[in-house]
Subunit: 132 residues, 2 copies
DNA sequence: CTAGGTGCAAATTTTTTGCACATGC
DNA sequence: GCATGTGCAAAAAATTTGCACCTAG
């Protein structure tokens, strides 16, 4: 496993930007924020590095919402809430809906597949879009 | 000829094709299958009608996998399994990982959002891709 | 006639990729 | 020098849309 100290300056900055937010940003969002600090940055580099992070296992995709893939540097399991209106993505505590111990093994036995991951996503309206 | 839904012939055929399969197909898949039976059909019409079905609540999106949105005419809640290699999508019995009664209300109270839906997706390798 | 549905192709949007150049060891 | 990283723009791929026509009622 590669230490992120060996990252290039731009790769490091992209990872830090992703890791420092809880907004589960898109590539575009990361690019827009970083191009102020790093004038030479290109959007393609952001895409390429987000792919690198996924392959390394230090980031994951939350899903594609409103046509844009959303990323998360918090790779420990937790459910998400997605607002159907503004596509805000909120982390939910792991305590909501915790997976049973042998759930993957049960599915494997009953369905003839191998399972190594899962995702839980709730949908609705966030506080701002709810008109409250 | 009029059917009970008042769908046009093509709309009805698209819905029937979606409802008759458990493959959770993409628009392309539906189009490829139907264009043999309905020579004049166009891909745009398939896309437009799948959107209509989603708005009507008689179909839903399973998610976007391998760049293609996948649809399901089975709108009653059930978890899905997605093969990371071939992107086959398999229905799992509702009994796996059933939601707790007041889960939505708990999330609403604790997180200040309104919740009306959720999805659970397991990932791994299907039987064919597992080399078994 | 009217309203909705469709074919067709162009446009849109997001993401990927080819290639030349840059950078660090 | 060599391998990796990057800018830039073109390409790719999926989906949406504009518009003219068509069809049912």
């Amino acid at each position: 496993m590669q230490n992120k100290r060996n990252f290039s300056a731009k790769r490091e900055a992209i990872f830090q930007e992703l890791a420092a937010t809880d907004t589960h940003p898109s590539a575009e969002w990361v690019y827009e924020r970083l191009k102020e600090k790093i004038p030479g940055l290109s959007l393609g580099t952001v895409y390429r590095n987000l792919s690198v992070f996924k392959e390394m296992g230090i980031a994951r995709s939350v899903g594609i919402f409103n046509g844009q893939e959303r990323f998360d540097a918090n790779v420990s399991y937790h459910p998400h809430f997605v607002c159907k209106t503004c596509f805000r993505i909120i982390d939910l505590p792991k305590g909501f809906y915790p997976p049973e111990k042998n759930l993957y093994r049960m599915i494997e036995r009953d369905c003839g597949v191998s399972v190594d991951d899962h995702a839980i996503t709730f949908y609705g309206l966030c506080h701002e879009c709810n008109g409250i």
